[in-house]
Symmetry: C2
Subunit: 222 residues, 2 copies
Amino acid sequence: MAYTYNYPHPAVSVDIVIFTIRDDALSVLLVERGLPPFQGEWALPGGFIRLDESLKHAAWRELKEETGVNAAYLEQLYTFGHPKRDPRERVISVAYFALLPSDKLEIRAASDARNVAWFDTREVPQLAFDHNKILRKAEHRLAAKIEYSTIALQLMPDRFTLPHLQHVYELIRGGPIDKRNFRKRIRALKVIEPTGEESRSGARRPAKLYRLTDRNRVDVFK
Amino acid sequence: MAYTYNYPHPAVSVDIVIFTIRDDALSVLLVERGLPPFQGEWALPGGFIRLDESLKHAAWRELKEETGVNAAYLEQLYTFGHPKRDPRERVISVAYFALLPSDKLEIRAASDARNVAWFDTREVPQLAFDHNKILRKAEHRLAAKIEYSTIALQLMPDRFTLPHLQHVYELIRGGPIDKRNFRKRIRALKVIEPTGEESRSGARRPAKLYRLTDRNRVDVFK
DNA sequence: CCAAAAGTGTTCGTACTACACCCATGC
DNA sequence: GCATGGGTGTAGTACGAACACTTTTGG
């Protein structure tokens, strides 16, 4: 089947940077390409949009295809359109970034034969297309937004401890945070509440467990 | 001439929200549509991308076509892709926003027979497509960014006074600012310098003139 | 009782807010 | 000399940064 237009059209794809916290590292989901171009190289999950779906819908679809997850934080990142970014034809990529809670990610990738894997963001190899550039932009956006929003809480499992949350902040910011200042700041946000339970793990004092007061709420301040 | 693809492609356009300060108002450049759809209605300047140019290049091209200007602040705003936003076919619009210094805008629109006009942002009529939505997003971006960057200086002419600059800030924020606090803050940015001249205009004390230390520099803080 | 991590307050400096009067000009 | 807008400093407050010890647990 062929589609014909009076003037040239680019292809439009959606690529997603899916972050989660895994094994003590901020991680991103990558897929190994099974076909040229860049066959055998790792790339961000993505695909071409359908003409009857919104961009966000396309992003959700890709997210679900790769992870099985249908609840996550999702926001448009940037649109990449360098004429030569895809060697086949002109492809404009609308990039999204998603945050997945770390307890929702075992469900991943019954999809197909391709390799799908989480990579520590500090150990990402060279990627297909301009995907390293997209990933860099997503990391910057995340690092910036963690400073003036409650976005980082979208990476947390249903119940978590404050030391765990602090660790997530430290991973994203790339540096240590003072414990007392951190706890003061988080408490002032009034977006988490104690569950009354404790996390008992090994030879040390148990930490109190918290949950989000509203799982889907993301506040932006300033 | 026809262009044929194996799977359907959307059209991709670039629309620009061009802001300037004019007649005591934050203003946006609009063009009257000469052809359907939305014939006779006002719209943001824009057009379809060429397959051999980058998105930013397309934005520059549109900017120059409408204003004759080739130096301005230009940044990607957001990509709008609702399937029904254009009644003709699927059109995905990559929106940019631009800031034009108020002394560079007499050069505008020798372009063609269409009407082109600056509108006070508070008096914008109903626009074609989803352009009111795009405009709203651009206004929000500008209002947000003025708080944590030196972006507003991109709207200033080569030489300007501090009361003038304050007025621009007040227009964008939509509220009054304390004069002494404002001046203190601007001075702390260290991005303007006195020219030594004065602006002599009418029956009052002349104001000192300033210029940007670096016309093209935009700082983002925090 | 020891190791290891959880938990908890106060002080200091900085940045933002509020606020009122004199100055230079044209008419 | 008066009307109009230009120009200047200080005091109070709120927010983020630095910083050390006690508590609880398992082994």
